[in-house]
Symmetry: D2
Subunit: 340 residues, 4 copies
């Protein structure tokens, strides 16, 4: 930690700060510059992070030196993490594709979509049973009945299930049914929910919130990991900016940035980022070329009749065509995609 | 709902859309312009809001005409709502001031702060027992023990208690102790938590999230209200922008905008918005002059030793001075403040 | 300047960086911490700011210690600057009010508005002759003819004129007519234009751009000041955020933040920030209470017929009422407003 | 244009608005819904765009139906535009690569870089002579001497020159030397500069500003095109968001979105977006896969000694390696890149 002092700070103020830092077991190092005096605190920065050093008289600003996350950091774990879901490896040489409807509506819709996405090369089935909706008057998902339908779709196709949990009280039930548990963007800092899924063993897809910085995103992964569950897949789904031509702005830079800061696999959800199906293929191709580990794509057998997010869902034919081009781009970066 | 069609849309496409809308019980009104054909859907817009009209071939964009919230809207309830907390009226002629520490640390710290803020004119005591922290390694609050301490502080001073709930499983416990229950910014779209506090009777302070639009903010209030609890106080605490000179950017416009769109009282939290105590008085004065109904201000007996948010906490002397100027500005807009 | 090195940096890399810094005439100070080695560069930070230290192998990040602006900074000039426009003092105890039409349309419209705003207590007349418009097909202002009309309005009322310049080629002409020259938000980093107005003597209103950080804003002021013109008034007019309920988001925090960082007066333009006239009074009252030095308000004798920005213009009656309340709030913070 | 009226609007108010619209030569179409009355204005929307309809009593909001740009729009010009620079075609089947130093520093540096990027497959040379710098104390470029050096580099390598113009007074000089003229992000709404380059014949690279919406971006292109110069290349270089891990946030969605809205070619500048050279390859690969028409990449023979933007510049070896992978990804989408 580096503490920059105000111009004209008094000797007493400097001594007070030094004493404070040393009382916590760290050493200090004072450097008097031309314009400012600086105190370096040497030792475990985590101890100081909790202390309001910038509330002390004479302090101008406090500059942290090391990142505040540990288990999620690349320096802690230099090799890329590979997360297993049955035979599937996320984080390795194959880009996984979790496809399916935004929401489980009926058994027929879910199973037909599952069969279609499997045929086109997807290796995971996504589908929402518990749905976070902006309006209390909107369809809130089928809940546990939706989980049962997903189970049948899995029996039918063999595709592992990705589904969301929204409430600490539902974690056990969702963990029972799901192969991969999703934490939605709105819950990225629902810390009790993060802790609860951290106690389980199923891999977690953690979606970045609309205004979550990458550092905060890794801190949320750290919440899950610090409870014992190290199987976290980070999922970018667009951030909120001033631009309204897309539903959100896909922050494609997250791929190389997370790759540098963390060992965790990175997934891209182009459907929620774009909000319009015609932009989904381009954004997916971009993600593949930039080095993502997985994709999350909304597919509906009849988008016009979808109960949620119809405008951003591909139909099975569009998805199958998409997968063919995706395979070529994956090949250009020496990877495979889904089961292709 | 207004549906703008693409240039060159075919008659069959138009008829398909018309039939779809009419099958839902609404009437249609076609208007052929020079550049575009437009379909007006006449009837209850809420029915269409759930349908993915923009997924239909030939549709360029869908423009809603009415706001999606009802109970929270000014057109539904033209008079300003006044929320009672014991004898205190929030939304009326007196600006309430909820002051106190970010976090309950000890009985001594809490009670001393409570006595000090009461003396300076605050009429509510704020204090966190359950704390949402970005880092899993940071102090997470005293939990139920913190609630007990707040109860003692209330017995000592008579100040009603404002405290946060973060988990659906804790709602009953917090409702028992608190006079006003706070939903934090990170949980503004934790819909299950909103529903749960909506089943209670205690007034709710709902904080706006860092990237919550005002419309989404009112939809979150609607979640609480639709469960039966109409006592919602909307609290602005800064939004996330590119500017880093303040912790967040206080969106002061929320005061007149919410005043136009909704009948609910509006509270301002300058401490979290600013992030630095020296900016708190200015922002509070701005809020009073702009017409806010309440303020939420962090005060700590010794900010330098605070376990959370020390840099943004006023000490009792600073708070007392602040209240004096605040009173003068409140007077200039024909209002009173706290117990002054 | 503080240079944080990567974990595992080699001795050669450290020596290379040290040599580089010392070759520029600065001293270095190495501090080996538990997790990182840090180099402090002691001397004139401005010399290093131009060097791409973060392009050097072994460097993790570079943390500047002092602000990059000088003439605009509070530490360079501790007393608040007062800028004189004739008898008017901006930055002192009276809040100036520059009111008038967004755009000069006709002599009649301009003079009638000037008479009305003067009567209501404004002490400056604003009006645009050169107009930056998003569309090339929109009315672009009357140009030099507009300047002539403003001159007549000044002769009629005695109000000093505030008007915008957009092109380096027009600076001389505008400087001849205007008492205060405005640089619009879109030109806040039009550095050649800044230099050109910096060579003149007339006070400059510099508007903050939609995505200009406060530090960049002060750097733009520095451009003007470094050419010799120290009379810069900083004007906040809303920043661009995700929120669409207002045209832009007024960053009210700019008032205390600029007050801390700089000695220059701060003006608020609530009309462009809000975009809707009904929000203009609240935002202005907020600005006064927060401590602004001046206001810039759009007034049109007949907003419904305005050629530009009608929706955000007050009519003379609304402006006169507004000024009365504004006077009361100014009084509560021991200030006067306009000529009231 | 659709005008949504307030609930409870009076018949007189409706008639007043209708009369107003009809007096401008448009027809009206009134539709009384359950909750709102709506007026459709039929005719040329451009006429109404200039009128402050939302300033009229009884109007709640005004919804435009068609886009405000014409020459830049896809509906006006359905085929993709191909822009010729000598033999090079931008917008066709080959992705152009403009590479070179941020700033022309010396003849040696410029020519060596030009030779290196040509050898690696670039087909255009970029280099700044006039440099927009945040600080007045930073190196401002060599100006006309820089243009002379670029000319020599062109003679040496045959690579056409891309360079920036910042001031209306320099347009003629830059047009003389450059093959492609660049308008920087800070000047995207410097409308006089746009008009001036619109009078020339050289192709223009128009960079998107940090907070320019895509619609505003196309309006700025329209400014250039409306003066007669139809050769506009749109360049995305990152927008400003809350995220600080990258210098700006590359809005990759611009590629499919602009492809839908406009016929103009789209270029991506990953160097300014990322701010760090290690992220440049990933972002470029993403852009190629998403369908961009051109890339703008900073390359410096010795980034550590660069006078501007060293941290984001590739060295020649890194650039050559980058081009090889880029070629493979271009091949996967059936395109070529540069001269490879």
């Amino acid at each position: 930690m580096i503490i920059v002092l105000k111009p004209g700070v008094s000797d007493e103020e400097v001594q007070h700060i030094v004493k404070k830092i040393e009382s916590l077991g760290l050493k200090t190092h004072i450097s008097k510059g031309v314009e400012r005096t600086i105190i370096g605190a040497i030792g475990d920065e985590a101890i100081l992070r909790e202390k309001p050093l910038d509330a002390i008289s004479g302090v101008e600003k406090v500059l942290p030196v090391v990142e505040p996350y540990k288990l999620a950091s690349r320096s802690f774990h230099p090799d890329k993490t590979i997360i297993k879901v049955g035979d599937i490896e996320i984080g390795g040489n194959t880009i996984s594709v979790a496809a399916g409807p935004c929401t489980v509506e009926t058994e027929k819709q879910t199973i037909e979509t599952a069969i279609a996405v499997k045929k086109a090369g997807a290796n995971l089935l996504r589908g929402g049973a518990f749905k976070p909706r902006t309006s209390p008057y909107a369809f809130q998902g089928l809940g546990k009945k939706g989980l049962e339908i997903l189970k049948k779709a899995k029996e039918e196709t063999g595709l592992p299930i990705v589904t969301e949990v929204m409430d600490t009280r539902d974690v056990d039930a969702v963990m029972d049914f799901a192969d991969v548990v999703q934490i939605g963007a709105r819950n990225v800092q629902n810390f009790n929910l993060l802790k609860e899924v951290g106690k389980g063993k199923k891999p977690i897809i953690l979606k970045r919130g609309l205004s979550t910085s990458i550092q905060e995103f890794l801190m949320s992964a750290e919440y899950i990991m610090s409870e014992g569950n190290l199987n976290v897949i980070l999922c970018e789904r667009g951030i909120r900016t001033f631009e309204t031509a897309t539903r959100n702005t896909l922050d494609i830079s997250v791929i190389p940035v997370v790759g540098k800061m963390s060992h965790l696999p990175i997934m891209i959800d182009p459907s929620h980022a774009a909000g319009y199906k015609q932009f989904v293929p381009s954004l997916s191709f971009a993600a593949i070329a930039a080095g993502c580990d997985a994709l999350l794509i909304e597919v509906h057998i009849n988008p016009e009749e979808a109960m949620v997010d119809g405008a951003q869902s591909l139909n099975p034919k569009q998805f199958a065509e998409f997968m063919k081009t995706a395979q070529r781009i994956a090949g250009a970066v020496d990877k495979k995609i889904g089961t292709l």
